[in-house]
């Protein structure tokens, strides 16, 4: 069994093979693999006995279930109204300038993926962003450079 197969089998053992377990299983695969490959989705379908098209349809509905390869750290910058008013664009420019990628792209070393997302629920501390599950609020272009430098240094 290859690593993905055994990961999926373990998850199905843990959560059960009911349809209700599909989201938790996919979430854990994304947590580990950063995205759901076609292969992972077919394996989930086989292991849980759900049509592959249903797995694909469900996965692609949810914006946090990536179906394209993504980097180790997914940066999601909030683009909804208050963050847009409070400097989201400057924040995005600073990130793009530093990582040399555009929105939707991943750095060549597969470390960072840059995305925009809808309201994160931090409008009183805008602009806000997520790096994986960690929240950063009131992020200025200066602060984002510090934050990203921290991630870059980490265990290359």
């Amino acid at each position: 069994m290859d690593p993905i197969q055994s990961l999926i089998k373990d998850l199905a053992d843990q959560y059960g093979r009911k349809r209700e377990s599909l989201l938790p299983v996919m979430q854990r695969v994304v947590q580990k693999e950063k995205y759901l490959s076609e292969y992972s989705m077919i394996e989930i379908a086989r292991e849980m006995d759900i049509p592959a098209a249903e797995v694909f349809g469900t996965a692609t509905f949810y914006s946090f279930l990536e179906t394209k390869p993504a980097g180790k750290y997914i940066i999601r910058v909030c683009k909804t109204i208050t963050c847009a008013m409070k400097g989201k664009n400057q924040l995005l420019f600073a990130i793009q300038d530093m990582l040399k990628i555009k929105i939707g792209e991943t750095t060549p070393d597969k470390k960072f993926t840059l995305l925009e997302t809808n309201c994160l629920g931090w409008c009183h501390k805008a602009p806000a962003m997520l790096i994986n599950d960690d929240v950063y609020t009131e992020v200025t272009p200066e602060r984002i450079r510090e934050i990203l430098t921290g991630y870059m240094k980490e265990n290359n």
Binding site: S63, K79, C119, D133
Partner: protein, 394 residues
Amino acid sequence: MAYSYQLKRVDFIFRNENDWEKVLSATIKKKPDEIINELISSELKGRGGAGFPTGLKWKLTAESKTKEKYVICNADEGEPGTFKDREILSKVPYKVLTAMAVCGYVTGAKEGFIYLRGEYKFLEEELNKAIDEFQYYCQEINLDFKIKIFMGSGAYICGEETALMESMEGRRGEPRNKPPFPTQAGYRGKPTVINNVETLVHTWTIFKYGAKKFYDLGVQYSRGTKLFSVSGDTPKPGIYELELGMSLQDFVYEFGDGDTKAVQVGGASGFLVPRKKFKDTAIGYEGKLVGISLPTGGSMMLFNSSRSMFNVLDNYLEFFREESCGQCTPCRVGCQQLLLGIKAVKRGEKPASYLDKLLKLTETMQLTAKCGLGQSVANSFSSIVENFREEMIY
């Protein structure tokens, strides 16, 4: 000029109380009927925005003869400008858990879920600790009720109660037709009480202090307090608990920056109120005798005169276009066309009268869309286009 100033700050929700064990054990000594009557007489209405009477919801579910029932706490707080539920779950989770357990006791449900949005995953660990401690006490007092967290994965529409249940069942978060309502056929087709996080905390207040204490706050038809998430052009953004029924003028007087041009009440799916209507607008549920009453899930976004209302509407429409589940045509195509339409008018490719056509389209969406998302796009669209028409054109 003398100004009669009427905002009433209250502190119930975040009041730090360490007596949840006592509140829980005292409440479940009462008969379920008694608890339901208490809730009904408090006139508590759902705080997620829709405003359904909470006591009635519990009663309908309690009356069902089906054995398998569920309690769900809706923590899929996705409406732009709302962030109160996150604060509740991180500061006073025990109040939420206690209320869920009491709801289980009243309705006969043995299982409860907190549907937590993916954006709030950082809360999961602490919340699970609180749940463990809570469950330990439930065992001690022989209360058979289990609570689990179900994580969302980034979809605004899953805050719609039936979409949320579809999502929990492992499917695309596409809203169901209503009826049947969740009180009859909810999660797994079984009777389900689904309440907003804040609603549950208000039931705690009612259990502890009695229905009268709650009822005495607020105004007729809009009883009790409400958390407001204040953001935008304000010197003091944050979360505030206020009595319902205040006038928007008073609100702006307290929270505005002196140059407030408009307030968006109820998030992107709510209404934009321009300055000239502040004093005729009250914040509360429908039924007030004079002026306009606007309900809100608590999102209050202030805009000052430096903001372009075109940009605001453009931002909302992009939001809706992305978050529409795509299931029904009026909403899927409608959101796309509205966005294309206002851009075309702005660029001068379409005449100004095209805005009226778009307004008609929102009316159609309001009548024909399957769920609240598609139906409520008309709220912000018409209130912005009608009040700031020139900003849409030039």
